[in-house]
Symmetry: C2
Subunit: 343 residues, 2 copies
């Protein structure tokens, strides 16, 4: 039901995936009046899908607390997440309201043991290929321990998606040294260096311009600066696309040049297309949830669904779980208060 | 002495300004062996300049504390800042080490009364023209009061540079509502709304993508996220320029198209050129200091010098001072401890 265009686009996206991944099966949650007429026209998709009617759909502009109040237990969003919890589905994909999806996912699936708060990981196109950037908006502020957990989860995701044995990891920081504050970033750096984990190669601090360069496979930061980095990059890309359009329309020669180079421009547009690498992966929950851009077209939504499919196949959830367990087991045990007082 | 290319570029930049602004006078601080041979070849610049030899030059990679230890009282950077303090100069422009320049400026000029910590304001090119974004890296973390002061200073700068009577101001935030943390941003929003200042039109929260759109004239944030936004935008611009180069080189037709549209591409490059709007303005100090990009060419350095020139002419320093005084005078007086204990 989610996204700017609703079932017309999300079902068209599913139809693409049904063709390309013959072993995929779908459980579709939504309002029957909106979904069934579209699904009827897609016999191939219908064949591999189960439809579950839900009375309530979470609005795109609902606040997370409103969505929880009105949509818990019964909305299509809740039911889709719950299907992951019960094992009916391996992953949940939604183009709906991000805040509501995260709030419901936390409430329904709960975070993994040891993980205080979840993260949203973005797959970021770079000059070297793609990188994982997390958190891009789930948690505002993070202590050193949470940043280390984000690093472990991000490395597991990069390993699964990019097939890199030991992904390189950097902590997002500002260039000026000896500056006050952000002690948690420095502390996280010390912890990652000491832990010397086998699942990643920690590279130290990186700056904002390193993201697009692809300096590291995984960029770790808390959700406020991560969200601002993501949105600023999107805004800059749109700004330059605007300049480019303007420049190519500025004279007869430039329009002619544009026509001759149209193939190249189309490939450029493809590269700058957020749809191609669409999907924010919710990390740190007891189950796989992928958020598609609300504005995604059918191919964009298909990309988000296929991302979920790959995550299931790669076993990233289990690998993340194992690394986190190993890391947290190695930490010096905390002396429980009861032991002290009972002595 | 600063910048990646030293006096060859900075003096060439000054020579441009000397031609374009006949009423400007320069005091040049540096090592005579490096500066004088270059200056000798620029008789017009020499005529309007005074040269002051300094034994020490702050290294581009020196830590701020090192720079202060080795360069205080005697380095060319320190002497240039001191010239503003003594009134010998109206503004200091440097292409040197940012951290050192800020540390020395704070130490030498001190912050304005009521201003706890200074900010660096960037002039950011947008789809609508230009915006002021601050802080882009001077202070990590800011409380609500400091964000309000940044808003006042940013509005004064936008007023002076863009000639807008009542610049629009937004606080940088993430889109997801009801999210934990960043209480200081929400509190700053409440304070700005209540203060209802005559010098700005407060518009509420903006997101990362609003910066490039030019949604507001002034974007206010603390230095960590501001620095990450700035560097991420620079990285994204470089990334897309790389894609564009690659696309235009990909076939015979695209190369031909590029040649035909070359004029348009040149204008695009001009628009994406950081040199054109070069200069970070240090705000909140008792004097004008402008930081030029270290990598700027002569025209870029000239742009930073002319930015300083315009700031002096516009009286932005005095206007900022007046608005800050008005605002802080209106705040309810704080009951001093001595009054309480003395009662």
């Amino acid at each position: 039901m989610g996204g700017d265009h609703g079932p017309a686009v999300t079902l068209a996206g599913l139809a693409h995936v049904a063709t390309r991944r013959p072993d995929a099966r779908f459980v579709i949650f939504g309002q029957q009046d909106a979904v069934l007429p579209v699904l009827e026209q897609m016999p191939k998709l219908k064949e591999v899908s189960t439809f579950v009617h839900c009375d309530v759909a979470v609005q795109m502009d609902a606040k997370p607390s409103q969505a929880l109040r009105h949509g818990r237990w019964k909305s299509s969003m809740w039911k889709a997440i719950e299907a992951v919890k019960t094992g009916e589905a391996d992953a949940c994909i939604s183009a709906g309201n991000t805040g509501a999806l995260m709030a419901m996912s936390k409430f329904c699936l709960r975070t993994m043991a040891d993980i205080e708060r979840p993260a949203i990981a973005a797959i970021w196109p770079t000059l070297r290929g793609e990188s994982v950037v997390l958190d891009v908006g789930a948690t505002i502020g993070a202590d050193a321990q949470l940043l280390v957990d984000f690093a472990i989860m991000g490395a597991a995701l990069a390993h699964a998606l990019f097939d890199i044995e030991k992904p390189t990891v950097g902590l997002l920081n500002v260039g000026v040294e000896e500056i006050k504050g952000q002690e948690e970033v420095k502390e996280a750096g010390r912890m990652l260096r000491e832990a010397n984990l086998e699942t990643m190669s920690y590279q130290g601090f990186v700056e904002g311009n390193d993201i697009g360069k692809g300096t590291v496979d995984v960029v770790v930061t808390e959700g406020f600066s991560g969200n601002i980095a993501l949105k600023t990059a999107e805004g800059t890309a749109r700004q330059i696309a605007g300049y480019l359009r303007e420049a190519m329309n500025s004279s007869f020669l430039s329009r002619l040049g544009y026509l001759l180079a149209k193939g190249a421009f189309d490939r450029l547009r493809e590269k700058m297309n957020v749809n191609k690498t669409n999907g924010g992966v919710f990390m740190g929950l007891k189950g796989i949830v992928v958020k598609s851009h609300g504005g995604a077209d059918a191919e964009g939504f298909a990309a988000a669904v296929e991302l979920g499919y790959e995550l299931v196949k790669s076993g990233v959830f289990e690998k993340t779980r194992t690394t986190l367990d190993l890391y947290h087991a190695r930490k010096p045990a905390t002396l429980a208060v009861s032991e002290v007082s009972g002595a």
